[in-house]
């Protein structure tokens, strides 16, 4: 007999999913509109691609010439403990990475290869490299226009630099405000979806997978898992238990390390096949097979979409975390932020892709979809790896939910204020979406949240381009001082 609550949940979830379907339809019409008839590139992909390429050229390939300096800053060479802000450069980078490293790197790569073929990996890497300067621009701006409160806490992010910065560029107040408001609305939507429901859904699947061998799949298990995840997130965001967040922050780099190490070992064991895999990636990028999307543009679109979901460059979310870094040099934090897409996409995603291709599962019809494919690719070498991967998926999802609850709440506060009741209201809704995401695979809701995250790029990139001259002036000044060794070093 099916429990009543399961029936209720199913019908509630279906109703919600159906409502979202209508909205998704409208949003997809705009976002995936193809403005150039001869080339089927969706509008949003075009904006992300053009934006990233523009920033890279405009800032003189800073992603390459500033790479070494970015590493020096992240290592703490210039960390002045008396600078305003909450966290060090390194902590800002790991905070931002805890929101982006996760399912995008594990499942997203497999999806890109499944839908676009191995050639999609080239596009992922390219958008990762170009995305570095998009990230530089948005995180520098977040530092310039952040608000530092008397207690040392910081409010910052695209909603602030769009509203204040655009007015300084003589954009009328109402339009500047509209940019900030639209960004904040999309950010809240993204925080409930890609930063929450999608994560909860995948985390539930991972736990269910581990429990199946022990207790089977009793009715209502997803409700229970969803409830437990919501409770664990609630302990941090409502209960105020800081220790959990602190422990998670320490475990995430460890899980990343294990994942990358396992990937590298697999690649080392199969090193003879790597040139062949690399050749396959290049050839299938230049002459895509009909089985995978069919056309050059279709492969590119898949690669770019998955890369952006993974590293969020141009989306503006990480700028909220980077705004909190301790520095009085905004450009410096922008340079640190550049490393995010590099680590996330150029290193981790490429490694996953090579493992998937080298192991041969990419064209195995029985390999399953998304995370299943990656799991199988790793399990071919290490039979114990699925357990580690399940734990990683859960922890990545958990830290992503906490990070996104912060991004969403900052946007919520920007829209509606900081009152305690208002903040608690957001957090309760956030927890409710976790349970909802766990109990049902809501295709439309997840599509909606994907679209919301992509939509954040509209105001962010357009506003970012308008504000880029100010960043360029600051960068010129900073770079001159850097070349003259005018900076005080602390390590």
């Amino acid at each position: 007999m099916v429990p009543i609550q399961s029936l209720f949940a199913a019908s509630l979830a279906e109703t919600i999913d159906a409502k979202f379907g209508t909205i998704v339809g409208y949003m997809a019409t705009v976002l995936f509109w193809e403005p150039v008839p001869a080339i089927p590139i969706p509008l949003i992909v075009l904006i992300l691609l053009c934006g990233s390429v523009f920033f890279t050229i405009y800032f003189g390939f800073l992603n390459i010439r500033g790479f070494k300096h970015a590493i020096d800053i992240t290592r703490g060479r210039y960390d002045n403990p008396n600078d305003p802000g909450e966290i060090s450069h390194f902590q800002a980078l790991t905070s931002a990475l805890s929101a982006t490293v996760g399912l995008g790197n594990i499942a997203g790569v497999a999806v890109a290869i499944q839908l676009g073929g191995p050639g999609a990996v080239i596009w992922m890497m390219l958008i990762g490299l170009f995305g570095m300067t998009a990230k530089f621009n948005e995180c520098t701006l977040a530092q310039v226009y952040r608000k530092v409160h008397p207690d040392g806490t910081v409010d910052g992010g695209p909603m602030y630099y769009l509203e204040i910065g655009l007015q300084q560029r003589r954009i009328p107040f109402l339009i500047a405000k509209l940019f900030g408001l639209v960004f904040a609305i999309f950010c809240i939507g993204g925080s409930f979806g890609g930063g929450n429901m999608f994560q909860a859904n995948q985390a539930t699947a991972a736990i269910r997978g581990m429990l199946t061998n022990v207790i089977g799949t009793p009715a209502g298990i997803d409700w229970m898992i969803g409830g437990v995840i919501a409770f664990l997130v609630g302990l941090v965001i409502i209960g105020g238990i800081r220790r959990i967040g602190q422990v998670t922050e320490k475990i995430i780099p460890l899980m990343c390390g294990i994942y990358v190490l396992a990937g590298l070992v697999i690649l080392a064991m199969n090193f003879k096949q790597i040139p062949e895999a690399a050749l396959l990636i290049v050839t299938s990028c230049l002459s895509p097979e009909a089985a995978f999307g069919g056309s050059f543009v279709a492969v590119m679109v898949q690669g770019i979409k998955r890369a952006v979901f993974s590293n969020e460059a141009g989306v503006g979310s990480a700028a909220i975390a980077h705004a909190a870094a301790k520095t009085d040099e905004p450009v410096r934090e922008g340079m640190v932020a550049m490393l995010g897409p590099f680590i996330d996409t150029v290193v981790i995603c490429t490694m996953t892709a090579l493992v998937v291709i080298v192991s041969g599962v990419y064209d195995d019809p029985t390999a399953g979809e998304g995370v299943e494919m990656t799991r199988k690719a790793f399990a071919n070498t290490f039979s114990w790896f699925p357990i580690v991967l399940n734990i990683s998926v859960f922890l990545f999802a958990y830290s992503t939910m906490i990070s996104w609850s912060y991004y969403g709440e900052k946007a919520w506060q920007y829209l509606l204020g900081k009152s305690r009741a208002n903040v608690i209201c957001y957090r309760v809704i956030f927890l409710a979406f976790i349970v909802l995401g766990s109990v049902a695979s809501l295709k439309n809701v997840i599509d909606f949240s994907d679209l919301m995250i992509l939509s954040m790029a509209f105001p962010n990139i357009i506003g970012g381009v308008i504000l880029a001259p100010r960043v360029k002036t600051m960068l010129g000044d900073y770079w001159t001082r850097y070349k003259k060794n005018a900076f005080v070093t602390y390590r």
């Binding site: 909450e86 966290i87 060090s88 902590q91 800002a92 905070s95 608000k147 530092v148 409160h149 008397p150 207690d151 040392g152 806490t153 910081v154 941090v236 965001i237 209960g239 105020g240 238990i241 800081r242 967040g245 602190q246 998670t248 922050e249 975390a321 909190a324 906490i402 990070s403 609850s405 912060y406 709440e409 509606l416 204020g417 900081k418 009152s419 305690r420 208002n422 903040v423």
Partner: protein
């Protein structure tokens, strides 16, 4: 004898500090700045913020920073020697509680003057103080009020 007391707004702004007018008004009502209490109410910590997760931002650190900022503010505006206080909680209620605990005779408070949706969700600290205060309340409209 009047024992006025005022609350400092929470934002650092490039504009004319709104606290300046407030402190000047308060100083008119006391014999010495020592009778003045400067209170700042901080919102509870955001436990998922990077600063809190990394352990860099704690209530102790915030309290110390605000105390320093309020002391500087008092000194800069001729109110050196005023009593500095920091509380954590819902601003309107925390101010009223503080006033009750310290037998305050008058509360001076600025008002942001928000309207519309922002007002609906932000509410008004001044309004809440008016409802809960155990003494007279004087509301100063900020010069940069919306």
């Amino acid at each position: 004898m009047a024992r006025p007391w005022c609350s400092a707004p929470t934002e650092v702004s490039n504009k004319e500090p709104p606290q300046k007018g407030l402190i000047q008004a308060a100083l008119q009502l006391v014999d010495s700045p020592a009778q003045l209490h400067l209170l700042h109410v901080m919102e509870p910590l955001e436990t998922m913020s990077p600063g809190v997760i990394t352990g860099n931002v704690t209530d102790e650190v915030r309290t110390q920073r605000v105390t320093e900022a309020l002391t500087r503010l008092a000194t800069d505006h001729g109110a050196g020697g005023a009593q500095i206080a920091v509380a954590i909680g819902t601003p309107g209620l925390a101010i009223a509680d503080y006033a009750a605990a310290h037998a305050t005779e008058l509360i001076l408070i600025p008002s942001h003057g928000y309207h519309g949706v922002k007002r609906l969700f932000l509410g008004s600290v001044a309004e809440r103080v008016l409802r809960h205060a155990p003494c007279n309340v004087f509301v100063l409209r900020r010069s940069d009020a919306e």
